[in-house]
């Protein structure tokens, strides 16, 4: 049998060369050793527990924890999403559905030609891998640290665009509204727009 095996290399030894040693059951820990074993759980009674009292106390997640998605806005309030569907294409779980539409003069939702008209993420499918965030060309889609994503119906766990959109911050105007005067979409993506202009407030 052993002739059929590959010959040993120089730095190898066969298992047959290793002397067989009877495993010992180990030295007895003795009476005090047993007492020590009993002492460990007893002493734990008086120590602080490790439990986080979850609903009352919420432990902070890691900074880059993959939580619920968010659709971001430009500083003047226009949406960053251009409805390109790259996130939906990147999604391995097929959890994202996007429908794009054209921006018109009286319905300007994002800078440039297109915006995301329908944007849904199905959190029953999402695996929080973050590939959609990598795919997004405008940094419109990012992830928050929010992890409390449980509900009692399937429908409630399909998040619509208004559930995912970032809130309006100071200086932002609710779209639709015209783009910043004398700025094109490239200026927007380069971060030249720092806030809204009074002329954008059409309401």
């Amino acid at each position: 049998m052993s002739e059929q095996l590959e010959p040993l290399k120089k730095n190898e030894i066969s298992v047959n060369d290793v002397p067989y040693v009877q495993m010992e059951t180990g030295e007895s820990v003795g009476f005090l050793g047993h007492l020590k074993g009993f002492w460990v759980p007893f002493s734990k009674i008086f120590k602080k527990t490790l439990t986080v009292e979850y609903p009352e106390v919420k432990a902070l997640t890691e900074e880059r924890f993959h939580g619920r998605h968010q659709l971001n806005r430009h500083p003047d309030g226009l949406e960053k999403c251009i409805g390109c569907e790259l996130c939906a294409w990147a999604c391995p779980a097929d959890a994202i559905y996007v429908e794009g539409a054209n921006n018109t003069a009286d319905n300007q939702m994002s800078p440039g030609e297109r915006y995301g008209k329908v944007y849904q993420i199905n959190y029953l499918r999402c695996v929080f891998c973050g590939l959609c965030i990598e795919a997004c060309p405008t940094r419109a889609l990012t992830m928050t640290n929010e992890y409390e994503l449980a509900d009692d119906t399937r429908a409630k766990l399909i998040f619509e665009k208004e559930d995912l959109l970032a809130p309006l911050r100071q200086g932002m105007l609710m779209p639709p509204h015209p783009m910043y005067p004398d700025m094109n979409d490239t200026n927007y993506y380069n971060g030249d727009v720092k806030g809204s202009h009074p002329s954008q407030d059409v309401k």
Binding site: E6, E12, P19, V21, K44
Partner: protein, 416 residues
């Protein structure tokens, strides 16, 4: 007046009130002990345990009970329906019955009657407890058998084999107490311990009882037949709802019952700790109940502590320990105790009693030494015996190994 005479003078009303009190005591203590166990074992595992229902989770056990009662009560189609229903009732009632002879207080006054807080006093009280415990095994056997399913049957057989084996050791450990107290009545045994507790005088008996009571109640580390982490649940696999609750209740009442018996037989029952005898007359004698409870709770704590510390035994280890160690040791111990007792009762000179006792101690030491030597020789023989290399082909080890040392693996580091 002895306790038996005190209790004998009770009127029917007083007896009914006492029965009710004993029952309430059992149920409340069980509910509290379920909560206490989960809290304690939780703290031992660095978690808080149930803390959501009521303050400190105090009514968790009650909530669990309500939940169990509201669940669907299934009876499997293959089950023997009548026996299936009777089994949990047998289990639950028998464990309550053993409390009838446990003395909870000394002489007290109850609604103007002078009596003792003990339901009844039999001249063979402890035998009664053992007998009731044996009847309780029927609950387990019948539950396993009537379920009409293989695993409950096997679980029932294992549990009952376990209970019966450890009952032998338990019964034998009590013989020494009977010999010294000269009575099998629980109240007489408590009275006989007013100076020295039998847990001290008859320490080997106490140790054997303490071990066998854990085996008797099917508790960790001897819960191998029920092993809820590994098996489905042993004999009560097919039970649900209130019937399961009855088994659950029976288990905990049983723990309290064996703890109460241990307190009565070995820790002086309702007597105060040595040196605190003056407290026994406080609150008109009712303070003794507090001593009784605290001793029972100490035993309960040990039960929880064992569960939090020890891993489960294997079935053969468990049976070997029971039949090959506990029972022979208790028989030898009874022989020694009986001889000593007979010597002193027949007025043998003190020197003779002491001489006999020291001879026994010497004998034990010599036997132990011989045992150790034999073990050492066996180990040495094992070390010398080198097993020849196998004749079949074995894979090569792709690295340079200068020496492999697999021995001396016993000293594990302390990775806490």
């Amino acid at each position: 007046m002895t306790t038996a005479e005190l209790i004998g003078a009770d009127s029917g009303g007083i007896i009914a009130i006492k029965a009710l009190l004993v029952f309430i005591f059992c149920v409340v203590l069980t509910l509290m002990s379920v909560w206490g166990e989960r809290r304690l074992v939780g703290r031992m595992q660095e978690r808080p345990g149930p803390n959501r229902v009521g303050p400190f989770g105090l009514i968790q056990a009650l909530a669990d009970g309500v939940k169990l009662a509201l669940k669907e009560d299934l009876i499997p189609a293959a089950a023997d329906k009548i026996v299936f229903v009777i089994a949990p009732i047998i289990s639950a009632t028998t464990c309550f019955m053993s409390f009838a002879v446990i003395p909870i207080t000394g002489k007290v006054s109850l609604f103007g009657h002078t009596t003792a807080m003990q339901l009844t006093d039999l001249p063979v009280g402890v035998l009664y407890v053992l007998a009731i415990a044996s009847v309780g095994v029927y609950g387990i056997v019948l539950a396993g058998w009537s379920s009409g399913s293989t695993y409950p049957l096997l679980g029932g057989l294992r549990s009952s084999a376990q209970v019966i084996s450890y009952e032998v050791a338990m019964g034998l450990s009590l013989v020494a107490v009977f010999i010294y107290a000269g009575s099998m009545s629980t109240s007489d045994i408590v009275a006989a311990q007013s100076t020295w507790w039998y847990g001290v005088v008859l320490f080997p008996s106490f140790a054997i009882y303490a071990i066998s009571m854990v085996g008797e109640t099917n508790r960790a580390p001897f819960d191998l037949a029920e092993a809820e982490g590994e098996l489905v649940g042993g004999f009560h696999t097919e039970y649900s709802s209130l019937k399961f609750a009855l088994f659950f209740l029976a288990e905990y009442v049983n723990i309290i019952a064996v703890s109460a018996l241990a307190t009565t037989l070995f820790l002086g029952g309702y007597h105060a700790l040595p040196g605190l005898g003056f407290t026994e007359s406080w609150l008109g004698g009712w303070f003794t109940a507090l001593w009784f409870f605290s001793k029972v709770l100490v035993f309960f704590f040990v039960f929880v502590w064992l569960r939090g510390t020890l891993p489960r035994l294997r079935y053969d280890q468990f049976m070997q320990f029971g039949w090959k160690i506990l029972i022979p040791v208790s028989i030898l111990w009874i022989l020694v105790v009986a001889t000593l007792r007979a010597l002193s009762l027949h007025g043998a000179p003190r020197a003779m009693v002491v001489g006999f006792a020291s001879a026994i101690v010497l004998l034990v030491m010599v036997v132990n030494l011989g045992f150790d030597n034999a073990k050492k020789k066996k180990l040495e023989a094992l070390e010398e015996e080198v097993v020849s290399s196998p004749t079949f082909a074995v894979p090569t080890i792709p690295m340079h190994v200068s020496s492999i040392n697999v021995s001396n693996s016993g000293k594990g580091g302390d990775h806490v």
